[in-house]
Amino acid sequence: MSAGPATPAVALRGLRKSFGAVEAVADVDLEIADGEFFSMLGPSGSGKTTVLRMIAGFEPPTAGSVLLGGRDVTRLAPFERDVNTVFQDYALFPHMTVRQNVEYGLRVRRVGRAERRDRAAEALRSVRLDGLADRRPAALSGGQRQRVALARALVVRPKVLLLDEPLGALDLKLREQMQVELKALQREVGITFVFVTHDQEEALTMSDRVAVFEHGRIAQVGTPAEVYERPATPFVAGFVGTSNLLGGEAARAVLGREGTFSIRPEKIRLDGSPPTAEETSAGGRVAEVVYAGATTRFVVDLDAGARLVVTQQNLTTTSADVAALRGRPVRLAWRTEHAVAVPVPAVPTPLPKESAHAYR
């Protein structure tokens, strides 16, 4: 196993969960290394939250097992597991102050009052909330509640911290700030983080490794670069980043190859200079121009029949320059190796073989 010679912090073996006739999680095998920042990425209903709840112990699996630090905890209650959860809606106790919320895990473990105070104060300091210890959760902003939930989970020093879309309720600026803080906090405390999100950018920027979920199965596991640069299925190519696929007739005409290929929008240039020996090129017409400040997105209809999205940084161009390109013929070029073959799975999605290092 590539998780290293050490025992993985979390191991899932053949995990399944059915709710009546609905199979929410279908046969998930996964190993998460100690100290890893691991994201489970997928659209809503893809089973990622259910997997998280089975690790925490809130849902009993229909089949399979959950191992924490090598110990089988499948049949144990949540309070018997050395993991803590940061809930999507924070689930702060409304009748307790911030300090009482943070102290709760220590109080039920019968830690002495003085030590409780010290550790709660330290945890609140680590999330920069020291001044608000005597407030009620109702008197806090969303970002502050988020930090209380973090401090409350971290104060009991779990082996693994589970985070269920913890940034989902925050606005964009705060979310970006919390992403940086979470990552820094994780490095500082050295705890394994298992992070559930539907936001691909969040998963890519924060994680050591990402598992992409589709219909209760893992479509691909890998580092953010692997998942982004070499998507294992068309679904991953589309969900992680912009879906830019060349297949069938268009692939034959442009690339001279059979199969389906993914080309990331930022790898394509349309500056018009002739393609070099390492590049593939294709002619087309600009159908749409979307100016987005730092970048511009061009939707280009290829003469060969496919549609590709191209993003360019607005290094020297202005909105007026790029708008003038609408409707014009252009020549696209990209380095040949950036057209990545994407195996199209027979339905249902089988487990991709090239990410086998993440499995047993």
Binding site: A77, A91, P94, G105, R109, A138
Partner: protein
């Protein structure tokens, strides 16, 4: 929405008229309890506290008050227990017939009291009497509990829905066992909802008359029943005014408190 000047005054007038129609007769009862004239001449020629003293000394009224308090407390206790159990079941678990159970629990408050009364009377006389359970104070408590359960159920269910199901999960996640979760999280969050539901239940039981008529055993007389049976005795009329005044105050206070408690969301103050 902005209303024209005349519309605003018209609506204010209608509101004042409506409230006056409800509360003026009640205040007349209060005033008349101090009216020295035996036939309640209006305006009162003289004032007196004699009726209050006579009501206090009236053994029948005092006994009826004590019976009412017992019945109210008993019905409230049953309602608190059953109402919160059902609310937990409906909120936390998905089971066959969940919606039906919810409807059946709420229904008794809408059922005509006379039907409930007759049904309970029959049940007690023909089914339970052979087992030695006769009509008495206990049957009154059970009768009241049938509709008191609703108010506790509604209050607790509303609180459970608002506080979100995962407070219990969060507590367990942080290492608390079932008893600790109940003691530190579930009960404190519900406390004010239970109190509000309990006060409402007591208020409902305290002035109930129809179901009581059918379920009370011989010699069991609650305060409303005592009033009703003494209403047409001319020399008891002043005393009845006093008892009615007491009933008004005794009903207003719990309802007022219950409303305050329901409005304070977090339940932090109590």
């Amino acid at each position: 929405m902005t209303l024209s000047r005349s519309a605003r005054w018209l609506l204010r007038g209608a509101m004042a008229l409506g409230l006056a129609f409800i509360y003026l007769p009640l205040s007349i009862v209060l005033v008349n309890s101090f009216n020295a004239d035996r036939t309640f001449a209006w305006p009162p020629p003289r004032w007196t506290t004699e009726w209050w003293a006579r009501a206090w000394e009236n053994a029948g009224a005092r006994e009826a008050l004590w019976t009412s308090v017992q019945a109210g407390l008993g019905a409230t206790a049953i309602a608190l227990l059953l109402g919160s159990l059902v609310a937990f079941a409906v909120q936390r678990y998905r089971f066959f017939g969940r919606e039906t159970v919810s409807l059946l629990v709420v229904l008794p408050i809408a059922l005509p009291g006379i039907v409930t009364g007759i049904a309970l009377d029959t049940a007690f006389r023909s089914v339970l009497a052979p087992f030695g359970i006769d009509k008495g104070l206990f049957s009154v408590i059970v009768g009241h509990a049938t509709f008191c359960v609703v108010v506790v159920y509604n209050n607790v269910l509303a609180r459970l829905r608002r506080s979100g199901g995962n407070l219990q999960e969060a507590s367990a996640d942080l290492g608390a066992d079932g008893w600790q979760t109940f003691r530190y999280v579930t009960f404190p969050v519900l406390r004010s909802a239970l109190l509000a539901g309990g006060l409402l239940a007591f208020g409902l039981s305290f002035d109930e008359i129809i179901v009581t008529t059918f379920t009370a055993g011989p010699g069991v007389q609650t305060l409303p029943i005592w009033i009703f049976s003494n209403l047409f005795r001319p020399n008891q009329a002043p005393v009845i005014n006093v008892v009615a005044a007491v009933l008004i105050v005794a009903s207003v206070v719990p309802i007022y408190l219950a409303q305050r408690l329901s409005d304070t969301a977090g339940g932090g103050r109590l």
